[in-house]
């Protein structure tokens, strides 16, 4: 369940020993204090849903000991897992537009490409499912539940549309679902917020639609943002889509979702 410590990106022996040497310059009190500060910084960033950048950790916590990053960071992750059941993981780097031309390789693309790491981190809940499904916790803080419900719907729509959805398509779905002009959801505020928080990735598409009757309008596409990828395991999303069907759920729903998302191509 708990990822091992050697899962860090900098696996090469030379870099690690350099980090270890840098860490040795810190007294145990200093190390303890830096671990604590990273943990507190991670919690503060999570509250505001902003990614924690490596640069910020260096500036606010490590200062001249920036080379000890790997060692101190791993200890901070250990503490977060121990106290809060949270891991501090690096957000996936943004997908490059070039990769998206072929639906089948899109998924592996971001993972294989280790050189383009995001150097941004966010907390990931690693509690076992049975500890999360508890009615002890009231999630309905300030309508957060509705907002996250809307987000899950949007993520599902993107997923089953080959993992990318144009702004026009998204608006079309909103109309169909009576979400447009719905007093409960201020879409024009919520969407930019999802982008800001890293749940959605919004990009202008490579080719402008010159034939469009509204020539000034940009062609915008939505994909899963880095935070969505670490917070929403695929099986949870499939579970959500299944639950929408209720009793009428098709027996091959998982296969259908996979096909629609472009993983299997149905072959």
């Amino acid at each position: 369940m708990v990822p091992s410590d050697d899962s860090s990106n900098e696996g090469s022996g030379q870099i690690l020993s350099q980090a270890e040497r840098a860490a040795q310059k810190l007294s145990s009190e200093e190390t303890e204090r830096k671990i604590k500060d990273i943990v507190r910084l991670a919690l503060a960033s999570e509250l505001r849903k902003v990614p924690l950048k490596r640069d910020e950790i260096t500036r606010k916590v490590l200062h001249e000991h920036s080379r000890a990053f790997t060692v101190v960071m791993n200890k901070a992750r250990e503490r977060l897992r121990d106290i809060f059941g949270m891991d501090l993981v690096e957000l996936p780097a943004k997908e490059k537009k070039a990769v998206t031309s072929s639906g089948t390789t899109r998924r592996g693309g971001a993972n294989k490409d280790k050189s383009s790491s995001s150097k941004s981190y966010a907390l990931q809940n690693i509690l076992p499912q049975k500890l999360r499904d508890t009615d002890l916790i009231q999630w309905d803080r300030n309508g957060e539940q509705e907002t996250m419900g809307l987000l899950t719907v949007i993520l599902s729509l993107i997923h089953v549309n080959g993992r990318v959805l144009s702004d026009d398509q998204l608006r079309h779905y909103f109309r169909t679902l009576y979400l447009e002009n719905n007093p409960k959801f201020e879409l024009d505020k919520l969407l930019p917020n999802f982008v800001k928080q890293g749940y959605l990735d919004k990009q202008k598409s490579g080719f402008a639609d010159s034939s469009s009757q509204a020539p000034e309008r940009e062609h915008v596409e939505y994909r899963w943002g880095p935070r969505a990828k670490i917070e929403m395991p695929e099986e949870n999303l499939c579970g959500f889509i299944k639950s929408v069907y209720g009793d009428d759920v098709p027996s091959d729903i998982i296969k259908q979702i996979e096909r629609a998302s472009g993983i299997s191509d149905g072959k």
Binding site: D37, R40, L43, A44
Partner: protein
């Protein structure tokens, strides 16, 4: 978080101290108090370190926080131990801060403070501090308003809703529920410090 149990279950104290041993490593604490009006136990996860990092841990903007601080000052320093501020006073304060807020912005923000349970708005529209504020901002409150915030002589928590001794110089304060508990075991109803007859009509808080 409120736990509506008269008595904590067996081993609860030990459970809490185990949790706190871990939380203390990152300058946090799971702390207990009581709702001032009914005495029900409440718990909060509080930050015990006012460092620069803690200042980042908020969803409010700096302007919103400066308005909140002014409101707290208004509430804590209110005349006659009222520990509350009328909505007119609260809105007026919004125009006095460095970056003044419009009336409607201030109204929205006040509602947000209430929704987020930092402030309580009573039936008559007055704002007072919630137990969340008293618990989570305890260190700040004690630093800033040492002379205004006096502790209950029974439970040692700050009293902003309760009763006080008739003698002006006497520092005896009780929460209402603490007074009931204390005097139920006493033969005569006198101040524990100066022994003057205790009148339960000297009210602290919104009255």
């Amino acid at each position: 978080m409120s736990i509506n149990k008269e008595r904590a279950p067996e081993g609860f104290q030990e459970f809490v101290s185990t949790i706190n041993q871990k939380l203390n490593l990152v300058d946090m604490e799971f702390r207990r108090s009581h709702e001032e009006d009914d005495g029900n136990p409440v718990w909060a996860l509080v930050n015990t370190n006012g460092d620069e990092i803690a200042k980042l841990a908020t969803e409010y903007s700096p302007v919103e926080i400066s308005y909140f601080k002014r409101l707290i000052e208004l509430i804590v320093t209110a005349d006659d131990d009222a520990f509350s501020a009328s909505s007119i006073m609260a809105l007026k304060e919004a125009s006095k801060i460095k970056t003044p807020l419009t009336k409607s912005a201030a109204e929205t923000l006040l509602q947000r403070f209430v929704d987020d349970k930092w402030l309580i708005q009573s039936q008559n529209g007055k704002y007072s501090m919630s137990q969340r504020t008293i618990l989570e901002l305890q260190a700040y409150l004690k630093d800033e308003f040492e002379d205004y915030l006096i502790e209950c002589i029974l439970c040692y928590d700050i009293v902003t809703k309760g009763q006080r001794c008739d003698v002006q110089e006497c520092k005896s304060r009780f929460h209402h529920h603490c007074a009931r508990r204390y005097f139920s075991s006493q033969n005569e109803k006198v101040c524990p410090a100066c022994k003057i007859v205790w009148k339960s009509s000297n009210i602290i808080g919104d009255h």
